[in-house]
Protein backbone atom coordinates (compact mmCIF):
# COMPACT_ATOMS: atom_id res chain seq x y z
CA UNK A 1 0.00 0.00 0.00
CA UNK A 2 1.52 3.27 -1.05
CA UNK A 3 1.44 6.42 0.96
CA UNK A 4 -1.42 8.52 -0.25
CA UNK A 5 -0.27 11.99 -1.11
CA UNK A 6 -2.10 14.65 0.84
CA UNK A 7 -4.36 16.57 -1.47
CA UNK A 8 -4.40 19.75 0.49
CA UNK A 9 -2.10 20.69 3.31
CA UNK A 10 -3.67 22.28 6.35
CA UNK A 11 -4.11 25.95 5.80
CA UNK A 12 -3.99 28.49 8.53
CA UNK A 13 -5.80 31.67 7.73
CA UNK A 14 -4.69 34.70 9.65
CA UNK A 15 -7.04 36.26 12.10
CA UNK A 16 -8.27 39.75 11.31
CA UNK A 17 -5.74 42.43 12.07
CA UNK A 18 -5.97 44.46 15.23
CA UNK A 19 -7.39 41.76 17.44
CA UNK A 20 -4.13 40.40 18.71
CA UNK A 21 -4.32 39.59 22.40
CA UNK A 22 -1.08 39.88 24.35
CA UNK A 23 1.03 36.80 23.87
CA UNK A 24 -0.72 35.74 20.76
CA UNK A 25 1.84 34.10 18.57
CA UNK A 26 0.19 34.34 15.20
CA UNK A 27 2.90 34.81 12.63
CA UNK A 28 1.86 34.39 9.09
CA UNK A 29 3.73 31.58 7.45
CA UNK A 30 6.21 32.90 4.93
CA UNK A 31 6.10 36.48 6.16
CA UNK A 32 9.25 38.36 7.01
CA UNK A 33 8.34 38.19 10.66
CA UNK A 34 8.01 34.40 10.42
CA UNK A 35 11.45 34.13 8.83
CA UNK A 36 12.95 36.25 11.57
CA UNK A 37 11.32 34.07 14.16
CA UNK A 38 12.65 30.91 12.50
CA UNK A 39 16.09 32.46 12.63
CA UNK A 40 15.67 33.38 16.25
CA UNK A 41 14.75 29.81 17.24
CA UNK A 42 17.66 28.40 15.23
CA UNK A 43 19.97 30.96 16.83
CA UNK A 44 18.89 29.95 20.33
CA UNK A 45 19.37 26.24 19.62
CA UNK A 46 22.72 26.85 17.94
CA UNK A 47 23.88 28.93 20.88
CA UNK A 48 23.12 26.06 23.24
CA UNK A 49 24.90 23.62 20.90
CA UNK A 50 28.01 25.77 20.82
CA UNK A 51 28.01 26.26 24.58
CA UNK A 52 27.62 22.53 25.13
CA UNK A 53 30.36 21.67 22.71
CA UNK A 54 32.89 24.05 24.17
CA UNK A 55 32.16 23.90 27.86
CA UNK A 56 32.32 20.11 28.00
CA UNK A 57 36.07 19.95 27.36
CA UNK A 58 38.91 21.44 29.33
CA UNK A 59 40.43 23.46 26.51
CA UNK A 60 36.99 24.34 25.19
CA UNK A 61 37.09 26.68 22.24
CA UNK A 62 40.81 26.16 21.75
CA UNK A 63 40.17 22.73 20.24
CA UNK A 64 38.15 24.21 17.43
CA UNK A 65 41.25 26.02 16.26
CA UNK A 66 43.94 23.67 17.50
CA UNK A 67 42.83 20.48 15.80
CA UNK A 68 42.82 21.79 12.21
CA UNK A 69 46.06 23.64 12.96
CA UNK A 70 47.80 20.47 14.16
CA UNK A 71 46.41 18.57 11.21
CA UNK A 72 47.63 21.28 8.85
CA UNK A 73 51.08 21.24 10.41
CA UNK A 74 51.42 17.49 9.82
CA UNK A 75 50.00 17.55 6.32
CA UNK A 76 51.87 20.74 5.52
CA UNK A 77 55.26 19.33 6.48
CA UNK A 78 54.74 16.01 4.67
CA UNK A 79 53.19 17.36 1.52
CA UNK A 80 55.33 20.44 1.13
CA UNK A 81 58.30 18.08 0.92
CA UNK A 82 56.42 15.77 -1.40
CA UNK A 83 55.44 18.54 -3.78
CA UNK A 84 58.60 20.54 -3.23
CA UNK A 85 56.71 23.60 -2.05
CA UNK A 86 57.92 26.00 0.61
CA UNK A 87 56.17 25.39 3.92
CA UNK A 88 55.71 29.12 4.34
CA UNK A 89 53.30 29.06 1.41
CA UNK A 90 51.88 25.63 1.81
CA UNK A 91 50.92 25.73 5.49
CA UNK A 92 48.45 28.64 5.26
CA UNK A 93 47.05 27.06 2.11
CA UNK A 94 46.32 23.74 3.81
CA UNK A 95 45.13 25.37 7.01
CA UNK A 96 42.61 27.57 5.21
CA UNK A 97 41.39 24.67 3.07
CA UNK A 98 40.94 22.34 6.02
CA UNK A 99 39.12 25.01 8.01
CA UNK A 100 36.70 25.59 5.15
CA UNK A 101 36.30 21.87 4.54
CA UNK A 102 35.54 21.25 8.22
CA UNK A 103 32.50 23.52 7.87
CA UNK A 104 31.24 21.60 4.86
CA UNK A 105 31.77 18.25 6.56
CA UNK A 106 30.03 19.51 9.71
CA UNK A 107 27.03 20.61 7.66
CA UNK A 108 26.72 17.22 6.02
CA UNK A 109 27.21 15.25 9.24
CA UNK A 110 25.05 17.33 11.53
CA UNK A 111 22.40 17.60 8.82
CA UNK A 112 21.97 13.85 9.06
CA UNK A 113 20.71 14.19 12.63
CA UNK A 114 19.06 17.61 12.35
CA UNK A 115 15.50 16.31 12.38
CA UNK A 116 16.19 13.27 14.53
CA UNK A 117 17.57 15.49 17.28
CA UNK A 118 14.47 17.67 17.07
CA UNK A 119 11.97 14.81 17.19
CA UNK A 120 10.61 15.94 20.54
CA UNK A 121 9.82 19.38 19.13
CA UNK A 122 8.50 18.25 15.77
CA UNK A 123 6.06 15.77 17.28
CA UNK A 124 4.67 18.15 19.81
CA UNK A 125 4.82 21.72 18.58
CA UNK A 126 3.32 22.62 15.22
CA UNK A 127 3.89 25.80 13.25
CA UNK A 128 7.68 25.75 13.58
CA UNK A 129 9.33 25.86 10.16
CA UNK A 130 11.30 22.68 9.47
CA UNK A 131 14.11 24.83 8.10
CA UNK A 132 14.79 25.80 11.70
CA UNK A 133 16.55 22.53 12.46
CA UNK A 134 19.14 22.43 9.66
CA UNK A 135 19.67 26.16 10.17
CA UNK A 136 20.52 25.50 13.79
CA UNK A 137 23.24 23.05 12.77
CA UNK A 138 24.65 25.39 10.14
CA UNK A 139 24.85 28.34 12.51
CA UNK A 140 26.76 26.30 15.08
CA UNK A 141 29.18 25.09 12.41
CA UNK A 142 29.59 28.62 11.08
CA UNK A 143 30.62 29.86 14.47
CA UNK A 144 33.43 27.31 14.51
CA UNK A 145 34.37 28.33 10.97
CA UNK A 146 34.69 31.98 11.97
CA UNK A 147 36.95 31.05 14.85
CA UNK A 148 39.05 28.96 12.51
CA UNK A 149 39.33 31.82 10.04
CA UNK A 150 40.68 34.11 12.73
CA UNK A 151 43.39 31.54 13.41
CA UNK A 152 44.06 31.27 9.67
CA UNK A 153 44.50 35.03 9.48
CA UNK A 154 46.98 34.91 12.34
CA UNK A 155 48.97 32.14 10.67
CA UNK A 156 48.98 33.95 7.34
CA UNK A 157 50.32 37.11 8.94
CA UNK A 158 52.89 35.26 11.05
CA UNK A 159 54.25 33.55 7.94
CA UNK A 160 54.71 36.88 6.20
CA UNK A 161 51.45 37.11 4.32
CA UNK A 162 49.96 40.48 3.53
CA UNK A 163 46.69 41.82 4.85
CA UNK A 164 45.05 44.14 2.38
CA UNK A 165 41.64 45.53 1.51
CA UNK A 166 41.39 42.58 -0.87
CA UNK A 167 40.46 40.44 2.12
CA UNK A 168 37.07 42.11 2.10
CA UNK A 169 36.43 40.29 -1.17
CA UNK A 170 36.34 37.07 0.84
CA UNK A 171 33.14 38.20 2.54
CA UNK A 172 30.75 37.43 -0.35
CA UNK A 173 32.63 34.15 -0.77
CA UNK A 174 32.09 33.37 2.88
CA UNK A 175 28.38 34.16 2.65
CA UNK A 176 28.10 31.89 -0.38
CA UNK A 177 29.89 29.18 1.55
CA UNK A 178 27.40 29.62 4.39
CA UNK A 179 24.44 29.42 2.00
CA UNK A 180 25.94 26.37 0.34
CA UNK A 181 26.37 24.73 3.74
CA UNK A 182 22.73 25.44 4.53
CA UNK A 183 21.53 23.86 1.29
CA UNK A 184 23.71 20.80 1.79
CA UNK A 185 22.67 20.47 5.43
CA UNK A 186 18.98 20.65 4.52
CA UNK A 187 19.40 18.02 1.80
CA UNK A 188 21.31 15.79 4.17
CA UNK A 189 18.61 16.23 6.81
CA UNK A 190 15.78 15.23 4.47
CA UNK A 191 17.61 12.34 2.81
CA UNK A 192 18.92 10.85 6.03
CA UNK A 193 15.57 11.04 7.77
CA UNK A 194 13.69 9.52 4.84
CA UNK A 195 16.26 6.85 4.18
CA UNK A 196 18.35 5.80 7.14
CA UNK A 197 20.81 3.90 4.95
CA UNK A 198 21.79 7.07 3.18
CA UNK A 199 24.33 7.84 5.87
CA UNK A 200 26.76 5.17 4.65
CA UNK A 201 26.57 6.35 1.09
CA UNK A 202 27.06 9.88 2.28
CA UNK A 203 30.17 9.09 4.30
CA UNK A 204 31.83 7.50 1.28
CA UNK A 205 30.74 10.37 -0.95
CA UNK A 206 32.14 13.05 1.35
CA UNK A 207 35.42 11.22 1.66
CA UNK A 208 35.73 10.84 -2.10
CA UNK A 209 35.00 14.53 -2.50
CA UNK A 210 37.72 15.36 -0.01
CA UNK A 211 40.36 13.65 -2.12
CA UNK A 212 38.99 14.99 -5.39
CA UNK A 213 39.15 18.58 -4.15
CA UNK A 214 42.46 20.45 -3.92
CA UNK A 215 42.68 20.66 -0.15
CA UNK A 216 45.83 18.80 0.81
CA UNK A 217 47.49 19.17 -2.57
CA UNK A 218 48.04 22.12 -4.92
CA UNK A 219 45.40 22.72 -7.57
CA UNK A 220 48.00 22.51 -10.29
CA UNK A 221 48.54 18.83 -9.55
CA UNK A 222 45.14 17.90 -10.97
CA UNK A 223 45.67 19.99 -14.08
CA UNK A 224 49.10 18.44 -14.67
CA UNK A 225 47.56 14.97 -14.57
CA UNK A 226 44.77 15.82 -17.01
CA UNK A 227 42.21 15.82 -14.25
CA UNK A 228 41.16 19.41 -14.82
CA UNK A 229 37.56 18.33 -15.35
CA UNK A 230 37.49 17.34 -11.68
CA UNK A 231 37.91 21.01 -10.89
CA UNK A 232 35.44 22.30 -13.47
CA UNK A 233 32.62 20.21 -12.07
CA UNK A 234 33.46 20.57 -8.41
CA UNK A 235 31.27 23.27 -6.83
CA UNK A 236 33.32 23.14 -3.65
CA UNK A 237 36.47 24.08 -5.53
CA UNK A 238 34.87 27.17 -7.08
CA UNK A 239 33.29 28.27 -3.81
CA UNK A 240 36.57 27.81 -1.95
CA UNK A 241 38.42 29.87 -4.54
CA UNK A 242 36.18 32.83 -3.73
CA UNK A 243 37.70 32.86 -0.26
CA UNK A 244 41.11 31.44 -0.97
CA UNK A 245 42.23 33.90 -3.65
CA UNK A 246 41.61 37.14 -1.70
CA UNK A 247 43.10 35.85 1.55
CA UNK A 248 46.12 33.92 0.33
CA UNK A 249 47.02 35.85 -2.81
CA UNK A 250 45.45 39.29 -2.22
CA UNK A 251 43.85 39.01 -5.61
CA UNK A 252 40.43 39.06 -7.23
CA UNK A 253 38.94 35.61 -7.93
CA UNK A 254 38.30 34.87 -11.59
CA UNK A 255 34.86 35.56 -12.93
CA UNK A 256 34.43 31.90 -13.82
CA UNK A 257 34.56 31.01 -10.13
CA UNK A 258 31.80 33.48 -9.37
CA UNK A 259 29.64 32.16 -12.19
CA UNK A 260 30.19 28.53 -11.26
CA UNK A 261 29.51 29.29 -7.60
CA UNK A 262 26.30 31.14 -8.38
CA UNK A 263 25.10 28.34 -10.62
CA UNK A 264 25.85 25.54 -8.17
CA UNK A 265 24.48 27.56 -5.29
CA UNK A 266 21.15 28.05 -7.06
CA UNK A 267 21.11 24.40 -8.05
CA UNK A 268 21.66 23.11 -4.53
CA UNK A 269 19.28 25.64 -3.02
CA UNK A 270 16.55 24.57 -5.44
CA UNK A 271 17.19 20.92 -4.59
CA UNK A 272 16.94 21.72 -0.89
CA UNK A 273 13.69 23.64 -1.30
CA UNK A 274 12.26 20.86 -3.46
CA UNK A 275 13.28 18.17 -0.95
CA UNK A 276 11.72 20.15 1.87
CA UNK A 277 8.49 20.56 -0.07
CA UNK A 278 8.26 16.81 -0.48
CA UNK A 279 9.28 16.17 3.11
CA UNK A 280 7.01 18.69 4.84
CA UNK A 281 3.79 16.61 5.09
CA UNK A 282 5.67 13.32 5.56
CA UNK A 283 8.53 14.18 7.86
CA UNK A 284 6.74 13.51 11.13
CA UNK A 285 5.98 9.96 9.97
CA UNK A 286 9.61 9.31 9.10
CA UNK A 287 10.79 10.07 12.63
Amino acid sequence: MSEAAPTIAPTVTPRPAGGRPPGSSQRRFGSRQAHLHTFSIAWQLARLDVLRRYTATMLGLVWAVLSPLLMSAVIGIVFSNLFGMPLREFLPYVFLNLTLWAFFAACVDSGAIAFLAAEGYIKQIAKVSFYTYPLRMVLAAFFTLLLGLIAVAVVVVLLGGRVSAMWLLAVPGLLSWLAFGFAVCTLSAVLNTALRDFQYLQTVGVQALFYATPIMFPTLLLVQHDLGWLLTWNPIYHLMMLIRVPILYNDVPELSHYVASALSLSFFMSCAVFAMRIARPRLVFWL
Partner: protein, 243 residues
Protein backbone atom coordinates in the same frame (compact mmCIF):
# COMPACT_ATOMS: atom_id res chain seq x y z
CA UNK B 1 -13.12 28.16 13.83
CA UNK B 2 -11.78 24.69 13.12
CA UNK B 3 -13.08 22.80 10.14
CA UNK B 4 -12.21 19.29 8.98
CA UNK B 5 -13.63 18.14 5.66
CA UNK B 6 -13.53 14.41 4.88
CA UNK B 7 -10.20 14.01 6.63
CA UNK B 8 -8.54 10.62 6.56
CA UNK B 9 -5.15 9.70 7.89
CA UNK B 10 -3.18 6.57 7.14
CA UNK B 11 0.12 6.08 8.88
CA UNK B 12 2.79 4.77 6.54
CA UNK B 13 3.51 1.10 7.13
CA UNK B 14 7.12 1.51 8.16
CA UNK B 15 8.68 4.38 9.92
CA UNK B 16 11.49 4.78 7.44
CA UNK B 17 11.89 2.21 4.74
CA UNK B 18 15.43 0.97 4.39
CA UNK B 19 17.36 0.97 1.17
CA UNK B 20 17.83 -2.78 1.38
CA UNK B 21 14.12 -3.30 1.48
CA UNK B 22 13.53 -0.97 -1.44
CA UNK B 23 16.09 -2.77 -3.53
CA UNK B 24 14.80 -6.25 -2.70
CA UNK B 25 11.32 -5.00 -3.44
CA UNK B 26 12.43 -3.67 -6.78
CA UNK B 27 14.10 -6.98 -7.60
CA UNK B 28 10.95 -8.84 -6.66
CA UNK B 29 12.57 -10.63 -3.75
CA UNK B 30 10.31 -9.12 -1.15
CA UNK B 31 6.52 -9.21 -1.13
CA UNK B 32 5.09 -6.52 -3.40
CA UNK B 33 3.81 -3.30 -2.01
CA UNK B 34 0.18 -4.30 -2.03
CA UNK B 35 0.74 -7.24 0.33
CA UNK B 36 -0.98 -6.71 3.66
CA UNK B 37 1.30 -4.51 5.68
CA UNK B 38 1.03 -2.88 9.04
CA UNK B 39 -0.28 0.40 7.62
CA UNK B 40 -2.73 1.85 10.09
CA UNK B 41 -5.71 3.93 9.15
CA UNK B 42 -6.15 6.16 12.15
CA UNK B 43 -8.88 8.49 10.90
CA UNK B 44 -11.55 7.81 8.29
CA UNK B 45 -13.56 10.45 6.55
CA UNK B 46 -13.91 12.84 9.46
CA UNK B 47 -16.07 15.90 8.98
CA UNK B 48 -16.20 18.28 11.93
CA UNK B 49 -16.85 21.97 12.18
CA UNK B 50 -16.23 23.74 15.46
CA UNK B 51 -17.25 27.36 15.79
CA UNK B 52 -15.70 30.15 17.77
CA UNK B 53 -16.85 30.03 21.37
CA UNK B 54 -17.42 26.28 21.46
CA UNK B 55 -15.99 23.89 24.04
CA UNK B 56 -15.81 20.41 22.61
CA UNK B 57 -14.85 17.16 24.32
CA UNK B 58 -13.45 14.24 22.34
CA UNK B 59 -14.11 10.84 23.87
CA UNK B 60 -13.56 7.24 22.84
CA UNK B 61 -11.65 4.08 23.67
CA UNK B 62 -7.89 3.85 23.58
CA UNK B 63 -6.72 3.76 19.99
CA UNK B 64 -9.87 5.38 18.64
CA UNK B 65 -7.80 8.18 17.14
CA UNK B 66 -8.42 10.97 19.64
CA UNK B 67 -4.88 12.23 19.96
CA UNK B 68 -4.31 11.75 16.24
CA UNK B 69 -7.31 13.97 15.59
CA UNK B 70 -5.79 16.71 17.75
CA UNK B 71 -2.48 16.40 15.94
CA UNK B 72 -4.22 16.75 12.59
CA UNK B 73 -6.10 19.80 13.85
CA UNK B 74 -2.98 21.60 14.95
CA UNK B 75 -0.98 20.68 11.87
CA UNK B 76 1.54 18.22 13.28
CA UNK B 77 0.11 15.51 11.04
CA UNK B 78 -0.91 16.38 7.52
CA UNK B 79 -4.05 14.46 6.57
CA UNK B 80 -3.67 11.78 3.88
CA UNK B 81 -6.79 13.11 2.21
CA UNK B 82 -9.19 15.89 3.07
CA UNK B 83 -8.81 19.42 4.26
CA UNK B 84 -8.15 21.15 7.55
CA UNK B 85 -8.88 24.83 8.02
CA UNK B 86 -8.08 26.64 11.24
CA UNK B 87 -8.98 30.26 11.79
CA UNK B 88 -6.95 31.82 14.54
CA UNK B 89 -3.88 31.15 16.54
CA UNK B 90 -3.70 27.51 17.58
CA UNK B 91 -1.78 25.67 20.30
CA UNK B 92 -1.84 22.13 21.54
CA UNK B 93 -0.79 20.64 24.83
CA UNK B 94 0.31 17.03 25.13
CA UNK B 95 3.35 14.77 25.54
CA UNK B 96 4.84 17.35 27.84
CA UNK B 97 7.82 15.29 28.91
CA UNK B 98 9.65 15.40 25.55
CA UNK B 99 11.52 18.08 23.67
CA UNK B 100 14.34 19.36 25.86
CA UNK B 101 17.95 20.25 25.36
CA UNK B 102 19.35 17.90 27.97
CA UNK B 103 22.67 19.67 28.60
CA UNK B 104 21.12 23.10 28.84
CA UNK B 105 19.77 24.68 32.01
CA UNK B 106 16.14 25.01 32.95
CA UNK B 107 16.27 28.72 32.08
CA UNK B 108 17.68 28.03 28.62
CA UNK B 109 15.05 25.37 28.00
CA UNK B 110 12.40 27.83 29.08
CA UNK B 111 13.61 30.29 26.45
CA UNK B 112 13.86 27.60 23.78
CA UNK B 113 10.39 26.24 24.33
CA UNK B 114 8.92 29.71 24.51
CA UNK B 115 10.43 30.56 21.13
CA UNK B 116 9.20 27.30 19.64
CA UNK B 117 5.73 28.09 20.90
CA UNK B 118 5.86 31.34 18.99
CA UNK B 119 6.70 33.88 21.68
CA UNK B 120 9.34 36.50 21.03
CA UNK B 121 12.44 36.82 23.18
CA UNK B 122 11.05 39.90 24.87
CA UNK B 123 7.72 38.26 25.60
CA UNK B 124 9.48 35.32 27.20
CA UNK B 125 11.76 37.52 29.32
CA UNK B 126 8.71 39.36 30.57
CA UNK B 127 7.12 36.10 31.67
CA UNK B 128 10.18 34.28 32.92
CA UNK B 129 9.78 35.25 36.52
CA UNK B 130 6.15 34.19 36.50
CA UNK B 131 6.94 30.90 34.78
CA UNK B 132 9.84 30.15 37.12
CA UNK B 133 7.71 30.88 40.14
CA UNK B 134 5.02 28.56 38.92
CA UNK B 135 7.42 25.65 38.35
CA UNK B 136 8.68 25.92 41.95
CA UNK B 137 11.98 24.58 40.68
CA UNK B 138 13.94 27.42 42.27
CA UNK B 139 17.70 26.90 42.12
CA UNK B 140 17.23 23.73 40.06
CA UNK B 141 16.55 25.97 37.07
CA UNK B 142 20.27 26.71 36.95
CA UNK B 143 21.11 23.02 36.52
CA UNK B 144 21.19 21.11 33.23
CA UNK B 145 17.78 19.53 32.79
CA UNK B 146 19.33 16.09 32.40
CA UNK B 147 19.46 16.08 36.20
CA UNK B 148 15.68 16.58 36.46
CA UNK B 149 13.12 14.02 37.52
CA UNK B 150 10.16 13.19 35.28
CA UNK B 151 7.92 15.38 37.40
CA UNK B 152 10.28 18.33 37.10
CA UNK B 153 10.34 18.02 33.30
CA UNK B 154 6.58 18.11 33.14
CA UNK B 155 6.36 21.09 35.47
CA UNK B 156 8.81 23.10 33.41
CA UNK B 157 7.17 22.25 30.10
CA UNK B 158 3.71 22.81 31.52
CA UNK B 159 4.57 26.21 32.95
CA UNK B 160 5.95 27.47 29.64
CA UNK B 161 3.25 25.89 27.50
CA UNK B 162 0.52 27.51 29.53
CA UNK B 163 2.11 30.95 29.40
CA UNK B 164 0.71 31.59 25.93
CA UNK B 165 -2.76 32.70 24.96
CA UNK B 166 -3.94 30.93 21.82
CA UNK B 167 -7.38 31.46 20.30
CA UNK B 168 -7.77 27.77 19.65
CA UNK B 169 -6.60 25.45 22.38
CA UNK B 170 -6.26 21.70 21.98
CA UNK B 171 -5.78 19.78 25.21
CA UNK B 172 -4.92 16.13 25.49
CA UNK B 173 -6.05 14.34 28.64
CA UNK B 174 -5.46 15.53 32.14
CA UNK B 175 -1.91 16.58 32.47
CA UNK B 176 -0.45 14.84 35.45
CA UNK B 177 2.12 17.21 36.79
CA UNK B 178 3.79 16.46 40.09
CA UNK B 179 2.18 15.89 43.44
CA UNK B 180 -1.43 16.51 44.42
CA UNK B 181 -0.85 20.09 45.46
CA UNK B 182 0.88 20.91 42.22
CA UNK B 183 -1.87 19.24 40.23
CA UNK B 184 -4.33 21.52 41.91
CA UNK B 185 -2.29 24.52 40.96
CA UNK B 186 -1.84 23.18 37.44
CA UNK B 187 -5.57 22.72 37.03
CA UNK B 188 -6.19 26.33 38.03
CA UNK B 189 -3.58 27.58 35.58
CA UNK B 190 -5.04 25.42 32.84
CA UNK B 191 -8.53 26.73 33.54
CA UNK B 192 -7.24 30.27 33.21
CA UNK B 193 -5.73 29.38 29.87
CA UNK B 194 -8.96 27.76 28.73
CA UNK B 195 -10.84 30.90 29.72
CA UNK B 196 -8.58 33.00 27.55
CA UNK B 197 -9.06 30.75 24.53
CA UNK B 198 -12.07 31.25 22.32
CA UNK B 199 -12.26 27.65 21.21
CA UNK B 200 -11.38 24.53 23.17
CA UNK B 201 -11.03 20.93 22.09
CA UNK B 202 -10.41 18.57 24.97
CA UNK B 203 -9.53 14.89 24.79
CA UNK B 204 -10.44 13.09 27.98
CA UNK B 205 -11.34 9.74 29.46
CA UNK B 206 -13.20 11.41 32.29
CA UNK B 207 -16.85 11.86 31.35
CA UNK B 208 -17.24 14.09 34.35
CA UNK B 209 -14.59 16.49 33.08
CA UNK B 210 -16.15 16.53 29.65
CA UNK B 211 -19.62 17.27 31.01
CA UNK B 212 -18.19 19.93 33.26
CA UNK B 213 -16.12 21.76 30.68
CA UNK B 214 -17.87 21.13 27.38
CA UNK B 215 -21.31 21.59 25.95
CA UNK B 216 -20.60 19.46 22.94
CA UNK B 217 -18.91 16.08 22.70
CA UNK B 218 -17.65 13.97 19.84
CA UNK B 219 -17.34 10.22 20.26
CA UNK B 220 -14.62 8.71 18.12
CA UNK B 221 -14.69 5.01 17.44
CA UNK B 222 -12.15 3.22 15.30
CA UNK B 223 -11.18 6.43 13.53
CA UNK B 224 -14.74 7.47 12.71
CA UNK B 225 -17.13 9.89 14.34
CA UNK B 226 -19.66 7.66 16.07
CA UNK B 227 -21.66 10.38 17.71
CA UNK B 228 -21.54 14.16 17.75
CA UNK B 229 -23.89 16.17 19.88
CA UNK B 230 -24.69 17.59 23.30
CA UNK B 231 -22.09 16.55 25.87
CA UNK B 232 -24.69 15.03 28.22
CA UNK B 233 -26.18 12.79 25.56
CA UNK B 234 -22.93 11.65 24.01
CA UNK B 235 -21.22 10.91 27.30
CA UNK B 236 -24.15 8.93 28.67
CA UNK B 237 -24.41 6.93 25.46
CA UNK B 238 -20.71 6.22 25.76
CA UNK B 239 -21.05 5.21 29.39
CA UNK B 240 -23.92 2.86 28.58
CA UNK B 241 -21.76 1.09 26.04
CA UNK B 242 -18.65 0.84 28.15
CA UNK B 243 -20.34 -0.37 31.33
Amino acid sequence: MVELTSVSLTFPAQKARSLRERISRALGAAPPDDAPTSAVTALRDIGIRIERGERVGIIGFNGAGKTTLLKVMCGIYAPSTGRVVVDGDIACLFELATGFEMEASGWDNMMTRGLLLGLSRGEIRDRMRDIAEFTELGAALERPVKTYSAGMFVRLAFAVSTAISPDVLLLDEVIAAGDVRFQDKARRRLEEMVDRASLLVLVSHSMETVRQMCRRAIWLHDGCVRMDGAADEVTSAYERLSS
